[in-house]
């Protein structure tokens, strides 16, 4: 019988439940997506050999964080469920159902929801993993060898994790419900408390919030010098500052708006009142979202920043763009060619012989890594000095390439090439590597036939770029993937928090409608009402990320280079969530 009631409730309140179900399904899907990568050790190892330890650490940390957010999120989602059903439970209790029966009913409903959303979520997760994985790999231009959509182990871990959380939540809900009496249950919607604040205390705490947040921004450029301690202190300052800012400083702002003439226009005071009323309840979640919004944007931007800096690094590490043994290669297809030449050579016993005069005449560009026998941190762009061919990076790279032996090939500049098979190598340098990437890609593909070792790196900046991409592309992929996963969870959490309070808001909007608010004004007000809740953490998160990029200044050439793309991606997803939330909110709050 209880099973039947639980199931019927799901069917009857389908519209409300569907919101809940979609939300929890998304949570499962994101968790699945993440776990799928975190448990794929081969993939993690293949991403980068140098940073293996770091990446495992990042994923462990990520998994813990995601677990915590998921937990909080499901808590909100479940309190939404309880609110949906509280009145019905009160009624059942009045009709004589025992506390135990009602508690058991709630537990069953929670588990039913958990089971459905876990199974749905795994499927959705597989879908998202497949699509987003493909899309990301394609846009970055890499192929991950150990990439998979999932294993039975990942499916089991995900479903197990969620059933456990749902069980815990269900038990907790049951415990909470059983402590309430019938009357409280029946009057579920009428419990409203207005919190009194001490203005002096709020003013002090509000100012303290600004100071702490400001300090955390101010020390960011220096944080790296102080290493772990610096990072920890800054994080604590930032989180505390944000918490006080959201809870107290904004409280002051709403207080002032309420007093000012600005608040007197239209429904501004209503929206302001909504915020003032919610701040106390929302300050924790808004703080969490603000901080994590900043982290997600930061992660994506840093990943992207590394990635966009690759062509620059590639160019800095080589004097040429491309060297080719293919005599048919035509450089005419390339844009803005700044240098081109052709050299004859002969290979004999691992030694490559060039004609001294033609090298001199060709003025082959090269990097010089040392000066007067001392190594130089920054290589110098110059032309080959025919008297010191051993210093010329370009010549040794070319030698290694044509022999197919990475190390130990020797270069000799001679007046007369020795007897043997005479071959040519063509050299080219372009102004803009990225603008020529597609043409270079074709040239490199045609080059395969002429290479003695097909795994060999083709000399020049283009070859560098390809190598760098295989190393860092995976990292970028991860950072974007991670960032998006977090962002979706955050936005879903906020969505639920907003929607779970809908029964209280509904009454307020009904009153507004009755006393003469036009339908259009009501819709606009609902948009703004939800908008402010999304706007506050976004604003703080944006500041966090903008300032936070300073941390990377000592270790990245240009930390802000990936920022605009990261910003677009993050704002796109977050904005989408805002629109979705306010549309659902409107549907729930406004009567047709």
């Amino acid at each position: 019988m209880l099973n039947k009631i639980a199931f019927k409730a799901l069917r009857q309140k389908w519209r409300d439940y569907s919101v809940l179900l979609i939300g929890t399904t998304i949570a499962v899907a994101i968790f699945y997506m993440f776990t799928n990568i975190a448990m794929n050790e081969e993939l993690l190892r293949s991403l980068s050999t140098m940073t293996q330890k770091m990446i495992v650490f990042v994923f462990v940390l990520g998994q813990i964080l995601l677990g915590v957010i998921t937990f909080v999120y499901l808590n909100f989602a479940n309190s939404f469920l309880v609110r949906l059903r509280q009145k019905d439970y009160g009624l059942l209790s009045m009709l004589g159902a025992t506390k135990h029966q009602i508690g058991s009913l709630l537990l069953r409903e929670t588990l039913l929801l958990g089971l459905i959303s876990s199974i749905l979520g795994v499927f959705v997760g597989m879908g998202i993993t497949k699509l987003s994985g493909q899309a990301l790999m394609q846009s970055i231009g890499i192929k991950l060898s150990h990439w998979s959509v999932g294993t039975p182990k990942v499916v089991l871990v995900t479903i197990g994790f969620f059933l456990l959380i749902f069980l815990f939540n269900g038990l907790y809900n049951r415990w909470r419900l059983m402590r309430l009496d019938t009357l409280t249950l029946l009057q579920a919607d009428h419990v409203v408390s207005a919190k009194k604040v001490n203005p002096k205390r709020q003013l002090i705490l509000g100012l303290l919030g600004i100071i702490l947040l400001g300090t955390s921004y101010a020390i960011m450029p220096k944080v790296v010098q102080w290493q772990m301690i610096g990072l920890t202190v800054d994080l604590i300052l930032n989180v505390t500052g944000t918490y006080l800012f959201v809870g107290q400083t904004l409280g002051l702002v709403t207080y002032w708006i309420g007093k000012s003439e600005f608040g007197q226009k239209g429904l501004r005071n209503f929206i302001n009142g909504q915020l003032r009323f919610r701040l106390d309840e929302y300050k924790r979640i808004l703080t969490m979202i603000a901080v994590l919004f900043g982290l997600a944007l930061g992660a994506i931007s840093v990943g992207q920043g590394y990635y966009v800096s690759l062509p620059k690094q590639a160019v800095e590490n080589d004097a040429l763009t491309l060297a080719t043994k293919n005599p048919k290669t035509d450089f005419a297809d390339l844009k803005d060619v700044t240098y081109q030449a052709q050299l004859d050579y002969v290979v004999k016993d691992q030694t490559v012989y060039f004609n001294k005069d033609s090298v001199k005449k060709a003025q082959v560009p090269t990097l010089v890594y040392q000066q007067n026998g001392q190594p130089d941190a920054k290589p110098k762009q110059t032309t080959v000095d025919v008297n010191h061919p051993e210093d010329a990076y370009t010549l040794s790279t070319l030698a290694n390439y044509v022999t197919g032996v990475p190390f130990g090939s020797d270069v000799q500049l001679v007046n007369q090439l020795p007897a043997g098979k005479q071959e040519i190598i063509k050299l080219v340098k372009v102004k803009d590597l990225q603008a020529n990437e597609s043409v270079l890609k074709k040239m490199a593909a045609n080059e395969k036939a002429y290479m003695s070792n097909p795994d060999e790196m083709i000399p020049g900046a283009y070859g560098n770029l390809i190598t760098l991409k295989t190393i860092f592309g995976g990292l970028e992929f991860m950072s974007i993937f991670l960032g998006i996963a977090f962002l979706i969870m955050l936005a879903s959490t906020l969505m639920f928090k907003t929607l779970s309070n809908v029964s209280l808001d509904r009454r307020r909007y009904e009153i507004l409608a009755m006393i003469g608010t036009t339908p259009q004004q009501l819709r606009l007000t609902a948009f703004k009402d939800v908008g402010i809740l999304f706007f506050i953490p976004m604003l703080i998160g944006l500041m966090d990320a903008t300032m936070g990029m300073q941390i990377f200044k000592p270790i990245m050439p240009d930390p802000y280079s990936g920022f605009s793309l990261g910003l677009m991606l993050v704002l796109g997803i977050y904005g989408g969530y805002y629109i979705l939330t306010s549309l659902i909110y409107q549907r729930l709050v406004l009567k047709k």
Binding site: V192, E261, Q264, G266, F270, G273, M514, G516, T517, Q521
Partner: protein, 251 residues
């Protein structure tokens, strides 16, 4: 001659439930509220008095008939105009107060003026005036949850009054109040009616509250079953008359 503030003609309302054509809730009902009148509508539950109030106050559409308020045909209006009309020409007092609990008393009262985008200065002044009238000046900065039922209802009345509408609708305005608070509330409504010359149309099942009105219509099974006019008699004797009338209906 001054035109009546409200004129309802041949109102009919039938709720459609599935294939059945249900018994009409309101059956060809007509009524008039004169300018400055305090009209109470009484009737047992199921008599259609809530439906009538909802229709007259534009919150619900009748199946047929016409409603004119202040010379305007309200059924010909679209949603937007209707909302605006409600906001400017009508005030509402509800049984459960319907205050917005996230706003202070002063902010609640100011809402109708805010909606009309009145100048902040004027709004403040008007809020001040009605707060004094209803003796809630001291409560200005409190939230509804901190007030007693009687206080909340006075705030509700202040909100209904602040934009000086031509007509205030009351839906069981004393329904949630104890007898002492109910008496006080009705005295305030009488004051509003007499000092501000605002017409009041109130639905109630409580004969005591109804005895403050100048005229009473009795509703039964969707039709007007009787009428009492207070005239020059005292409220006490009017109250006796109402009880007698209700007794007659019982038989």
């Amino acid at each position: 001659m001054v035109q009546p503030i409200l004129l309802a003609k041949n109102i009919k309302k039938t709720y459609q439930s599935g294939a059945h054509v249900a018994q009409p809730v309101l059956n060809d009902l007509s009524l008039t509220v004169e300018n400055g009148e305090f009209l109470a509508i009484m009737g047992p539950s199921g008599s259609g008095k809530s439906t009538l109030l909802n229709i007259l106050s534009t919150l619900m559409q009748p199946t047929s008939g016409s409603v004119t308020i202040n010379g305007q045909d309200i059924l010909a209006m679209n949603d937007k105009d209707m909302a605006k009309f409600r906001g400017q020409d009508m005030g509402f007092i509800f049984q459960n107060y319907n205050l917005i609990e996230s706003l202070t008393v002063a902010e609640n009262i100011a809402l109708p003026l805010n909606l009309q985008k009145k100048a902040p200065k004027l709004t403040q002044e008007r809020v001040q005036v009605v707060s004094e009238l209803l003796n809630i000046k001291e409560l200005r900065h409190k939230y509804p949850a901190e007030l007693s039922g009687g206080q909340q209802q006075r705030v509700g009345a202040a909100r209904a009054l602040v934009h000086e509408p031509g007509l205030i609708f009351g839906d069981e305005p004393t329904g949630a109040l104890d007898s002492e608070n109910a008496r006080e509330m009705m005295q305030y409504l009488t004051k509003i009616n007499q000092e501000k010359l605002i017409s009041i149309l109130m639905v109630t099942h409580d004969p005591f509250s109804a005895s403050f009105a100048s005229r009473i219509l009795f509703l039964n099974d969707g039709e007007i079953a009787g009428e009492l006019v207070r005239g020059a008699q005292s409220r006490e004797s009017f109250y006796q008359q109402i009880l007698q009338q209700l007794g007659n209906f019982e038989e």
